[in-house]
């Protein structure tokens, strides 16, 4: 992406000052964006914190209860289970996604008519949306009318129909496979753009020096794609931590509530049991966890880059 690459970074733009006009004029242009962000983001964000300090039923009056929601949350095993499950899902899906995405990116990093086609097809599931992909998977994983179980039975893998969604392990893997299928193309493109930014002569020079393919991958490719990899990692972790659609649509949080994610738990508290205040407190905790995670990832990847 040379045309994009050459752009200066937004805030560090060394534009000559005299060409820019001063005064409040510019603010006028950014006002609509600012207004949207304030009304639909900052105010709700503040309200979340405010609500988390209340007993706030959907119907009826809110009552100030200080930190009681947070002390209750501390002892709420179902919330910590949900967080634990979300973490487990995040780790597994991130490894699966980025691993496959890197392999795919290595396959299609070079130009060519065929590789262009592969790239396009592998990317297709990305644009379908989580709700449609989840509905599609709910059908494919269904024991009676779906594809996986009957197919396994027909080719003799299982004796009789095996209900994939009945046990935690198989249900979890079924959903993870769906997510990998749906999102691998996305991270493939991000990693590929990093691979393509590596100057070709680096590899050539190393080859002439007698470096094997593995050595070249480890010592040239890996260090140079750290930045896009960091981006992919952060997006992947954040996305997985917020998973909801697939577990709601395919599994209803089952079997036996074992796949209720953090967002699902918040949804249940807020919009099924109507404990808005408690839901808000859970949101605040989730938000803090996500911010800490992002900061840690940025730190880790940046520090290593500098040393």
């Amino acid at each position: 992406m040379p045309d994009v690459q050459s752009h200066p970074l937004p805030s560090a733009a060394p534009t000559p000052r005299r060409r820019r006009r001063r005064g409040w004029h510019g603010l006028l242009y950014t006002l609509p964006a600012l207004a949207l962000v304030v009304v639909f983001f900052l105010i709700p964000l503040g309200m979340t914190v405010w609500m988390s300090l209340h007993n706030w039923p959907l119907l009826g009056n809110a009552r100030w209860i200080g930190l009681a929601n947070y002390t209750r949350l501390w002892n709420d095993a179902s919330f910590w289970n949900a967080l634990l499950f979300t973490a487990q899902y995040t780790i597994v899906s991130t490894i699966g996604l980025l691993g496959l995405a890197l392999a795919l990116a290595l396959m299609v990093q070079h130009q060519g008519r065929a590789t262009g086609l592969y790239r396009t097809v592998w990317f297709l599931p990305v644009v379908t949306g989580f709700a449609s992909a989840s509905l599609l998977w709910a059908w494919l994983s269904n024991v009676d009318a779906g594809l996986f179980s009957p197919l396994a039975q027909r080719i003799g893998l299982t004796e009789g129909r095996f209900n994939l969604l009945a046990d935690f392990d198989t249900a979890f893997w079924s959903v993870t496979v769906m997510v990998v299928w749906k999102m691998a193309g996305f991270y493939m493109i991000i990693l590929m753009s990093g691979l393509q930014a590596i100057p070709g002569d680096y590899q050539e020079a190393a080859r002439i020096d007698g470096a094997s393919a593995l050595q070249r991958f480890l010592w040239i490719t890996v260090p140079l794609i750290r930045q896009p990899f960091a981006l992919a990692l952060i997006m992947c972790v954040a996305g997985s931590m917020l998973a909801f659609d697939q577990f709601y649509i395919i599994l209803n949080g089952g079997p036996r509530n074992q796949t209720v994610t953090a967002v699902y738990k918040i949804f249940n508290e807020s919009f099924v049991s109507f404990r808005l205040g408690y839901g808000a407190a859970l949101s605040v905790i989730l938000l803090l966890i996500l911010m800490v995670l992002s900061i840690i990832q940025l730190r880790l990847l940046r520090d290593r880059g500098e040393s």
């Binding site: 039923p57 024991v143 009945a166 209803n252 079997p255 509530n257 099924v272 049991s273």
Partner: protein, 420 residues
């Protein structure tokens, strides 16, 4: 902000201009849950045929009715009237979302003929907030064709849990694609409707009469679980049952390869209309011993939102009166098999499938649990009743069943206590 204000102004403008059809004729919105609701369309058609009022029908996904109604109430977009699962009347009455219908109800000449189950859950703090709209009783249904092929008497329903297991075994032995029994194993609503009556018939309870005590920890509940679990372990129940959150509650039996399924009166009319080739019988849901039986007295109450404007009340009341007329009750009888007005029942059921009479009897002797947190306890997909049963039905060991029941009992009681 201009845009937002503009949008508000626009919506306000639309709201002002749309219902300008006339002053006397009103259009009111009516929500119903998704599922067997053809009778409502027919009822509305017959109402509109001789009334200047109009009904704007909105179908809400059955699992999301409670959420949607509560959210809409807060958001100011509540429907004018609802055909609400009768079980939720106390919860919404308690939250102050419903209009007091006591005076209107007593003005009806046939008030004392209305379904008592509906009226009992329609009452909160001595006032009446919901009136019977449609009824649904739970029944046992069996496939006569499969009974015949299995060498059983197709005219003889199983009379007890042991007989159900024995008959299911005989049908299950017919082949790998044929199953003795079906139940939706991950559906709280389905199981309170079908399993709970069998527990009641055996003398057990799920909740105390006032809804303040969870009562899962009883021998009857244990034995009922054991009854289902035995059939699961024997392979008499299709694998899909374990993850069925109600989507296939009825569909599995209609497919024709299930011997016995506890369903409801709703199934009779759908089977008659859509699966005319399926030969089936209906019976009461039995208890442990022959001769015991019970039923869940379910269905919908019609309720009016508190926010509904006065101008619309005459239209809604006219619609309710129309429902209680002979014409209305005949539609109910034909479509779902149970009229809700006792004095017209015989007339309305005349000439219809004799199996309907059984539904009406089940309804009259059925029970309806009373709780203001029914959704959180029973119907919620992630609630304790649903998860406890799923865990227990498909448990690998007795110990697992015990653990599930103990956890479920504690969780249910905690929810009840927290709501007090």
């Amino acid at each position: 902000m201009k845009m937002i204000r503009g949008a508000i102004a626009l919506t306000a403008l639309l709201a002002l201009t749309l219902p300008a059809a006339g002053t006397r004729a009103e259009t009111f919105s009516l929500w119903v849950r998704s599922g067997a609701n053809d009778y409502i369309r027919e009822l509305i058609a017959s109402f509109e045929a001789d009334s200047e009022h109009r009904v704007d029908l909105q179908v809400v996904p059955v699992d999301e009715m409670v959420q949607k109604y509560a959210i809409a109430s807060v958001g100011g977009s509540a429907p004018d009237a609802l055909s609400l699962d009768l079980i939720y009347t106390p919860a919404f009455a308690r939250a102050g979302q419903l209009r007091d219908l006591t005076d209107f109800a007593h003005s009806l000449a046939w008030f004392d003929q209305l379904s008592p189950a509906h009226l009992s859950v329609g009452t909160f703090d001595g006032r009446l907030y919901g009136l019977p709209f449609s009824a649904d009783a739970s029944l046992l249904i069996w496939n006569k064709e499969l009974f015949k092929r299995a060498g059983l008497d197709p005219e003889n329903a199983p009379q007890s849990w042991t007989e159900i297991i024995a008959d299911a075994r005989a049908v299950g032995a017919l082949g790998p694609e044929t199953y003795g029994f079906y139940f939706a194993g991950n559906c709280g609503g389905c199981n309170i409707f079908t399993l709970a009556p069998m527990i009641w018939a055996a003398g057990g309870e799920i909740l105390s009469a006032d809804g303040q005590q969870a009562m899962l920890d009883s021998p009857q509940v244990r034995e009922a679980i054991d009854f289902y679990r035995t059939m699961v372990m024997d392979g008499l129940v299709p694998a899909g049952a374990r993850t069925d959150s109600g989507a296939n509650f009825f569909g599995a039996f209609a497919n024709g390869n299930i011997g016995i399924a506890p369903l409801g009166s709703f199934a009779i009319s759908i089977l008659n209309q859509q699966y005319p080739d399926l030969d089936y019988g209906v019976a009461f849901l039995p208890g442990q011993e022959a001769g015991q039986w019970s039923s869940f007295a379910g269905g919908d109450n019609i309720v009016i939102s508190r926010s509904t404007s006065e101008e619309k009340l005459p239209a809604i009341k006219a619609f309710i009166r129309h429902t209680y007329s002979l014409a209305g009750q005949k539609i109910l009888a034909r479509r779902i098999g149970i009229p809700v007005r006792a004095d017209l029942a015989q007339q309305a059921l005349e000439g219809l499938d004799p199996r309907y009479a059984l539904s009406t009897e089940a309804m009259q002797n059925g029970r309806t649990p009373y709780s203001t947190v029914f959704n959180d306890l029973i119907n919620s997909r992630n609630g304790p009743w649903t998860t406890t049963l799923n865990r227990a039905f498909f448990a690998d060991s007795e110990a697992e069943v015990e653990a599930a029941l103990a956890a479920g009992q504690a969780e249910m009681q905690a929810i009840i206590d927290a709501a007090r």
